[in-house]
């Protein structure tokens, strides 16, 4: 594998996460200049202003204007079209996991 490979999604998405993704999409369309196109799932490294660091799954969207450039990477996971934007070294973090959402923890990965 190299840095141009589009990886197959190796996770699923829970119903709670799907509902929250729809909320997020509505929020996006109201607050971002360009409408949300397709969902993206990636792994993020957080550097807080306090100096703390964290890692977590990042849920976002490509805007509609970006769709033609990323259409080749779209795949369907748990009934949702998404682009899995990550590198092979982060695949094990997603392996067999479920993306879930709770009001307390926001989006997170859990075992099935």
């Amino acid at each position: 594998m190299n840095d141009t490979d589009i990886l197959r999604a190796n996770f699923t998405i829970s119903d709670a996460a799907k509902r929250e993704i729809e909320n997020l999409r509505r929020f996006w369309n109201e607050n971002v200049p360009e409408p949300a196109g397709v969902l993206t799932v990636s792994w993020g490294f957080y550097h807080f202003n306090s100096g703390e660091k964290a890692e977590n799954v990042v849920i976002s969207f490509y805007s509609e204007s970006q769709l033609p450039m990323v259409a080749h990477g779209i795949q369907r996971v748990s009934g949702i079209d998404l682009v899995f934007f990550t590198l092979p070294e982060y695949l094990p973090k997603f392996e067999g996991k479920v993306i879930d959402h709770t009001p307390d923890r926001s989006f997170f990965l859990r075992k099935p």
């Binding site: 190299n2 840095d3 141009t4 490979d5 589009i6 990886l7 929250e20 997020l24 929020f27 996006w28 607050n31 971002v32 360009e34 993206t40 990636s42 792994w43 993020g44 490294f45 957080y46 550097h47 807080f48 202003n49 306090s50 703390e52 964290a54 890692e55 977590n56 799954v57 990042v58 849920i59 976002s60 969207f61 490509y62 805007s63 970006q66 450039m69 990323v70 080749h72 990477g73 682009v83 934007f85 990550t86 590198l87 982060y90 973090k93 996991k97 009001p103 307390d104 923890r105 926001s106 989006f107 997170f108 990965l109 859990r110 075992k111």
Partner: protein, 212 residues
């Protein structure tokens, strides 16, 4: 061109006839495999080199110098582009760090942006007003900020792409700036960085306990 090639050129110069092509069959590459064809062409090149005229040699060297120069120019341009990208990213990070330091200073000095100042027309224009509002550092009239709705802020703040860099063998590295910090995401080079990212994965500004 290695030492063996140079030796072979010398041998051809001594023992081969300059009109060696006359003894070749009409299609010398017929029936050869790709590797054999390449070897044959290389051998012919060495023979030609052995009987190269001074003029042909001069033209060849000029051509090689031109190609070398073009290659160096291309490489220098590529290097400059990488350095420009790195500097741009460095500048953005420095700006971020500066903002963080300023925010920390403001917090320490209890800076209140809404505190009244003396009008510009007065000799003390721009100074902090002393009409009961207080000087910097005093907390008069400063309402304690209510406890922020952490869940909403964390979940629904939007981060903007402030820099992206293509790292050899490591794909795209995308940097997003949020009110609470920065987030870095990596992905393959045949996709692209998202322009905005909601801080969907952060809850209450704490580490998320994933099942990893």
């Amino acid at each position: 061109m290695n030492t063996n090639d140079l030796v072979k050129i010398e041998q051809y110069r001594r023992f081969l006839r300059p009109d060696w092509r006359r003894w070749l069959p009409p299609d010398p590459e017929r029936g050869l495999t790709r590797e054999q064809r390449e070897a044959l062409r290389h051998d012919f090149m060495l023979r030609d080199r052995a009987f190269e005229t001074p003029l042909a040699r001069r033209l060849r060297k000029e051509q090689e110098a031109r190609e070398r120069e073009e290659q160096e120019h291309l490489e220098a341009e590529h290097q400059a582009e990488i350095e420009r990208e790195a500097l741009k990213l460095k500048a953005e990070l420095a700006s971020l760090r500066f903002e963080l330091v300023m925010a920390e200073f403001r917090r320490k000095a209890s800076f209140n942006q809404n505190q009244p100042r003396v009008p510009a027309s007065s000799p003390d224009g721009g100074q902090w007003s002393s009409d009961g509002v207080g000087r910097p550092g005093e907390a008069a009239d400063v309402e304690p900020s209510p406890e922020p709705d952490r869940t909403r802020v964390a979940q629904y703040s939007i981060g903007t792409l402030i820099g992206q860099s293509r790292v050899q063998g490591r794909g795209w590295v995308c940097f997003y700036k949020f009110s609470f910090g920065t987030v870095m995401v990596q992905g393959p080079t045949n996709l692209q960085c998202q322009t905005w990212v909601p801080a969907a994965g952060v809850s209450h500004g704490k580490l998320i306990a994933n099942d990893n």
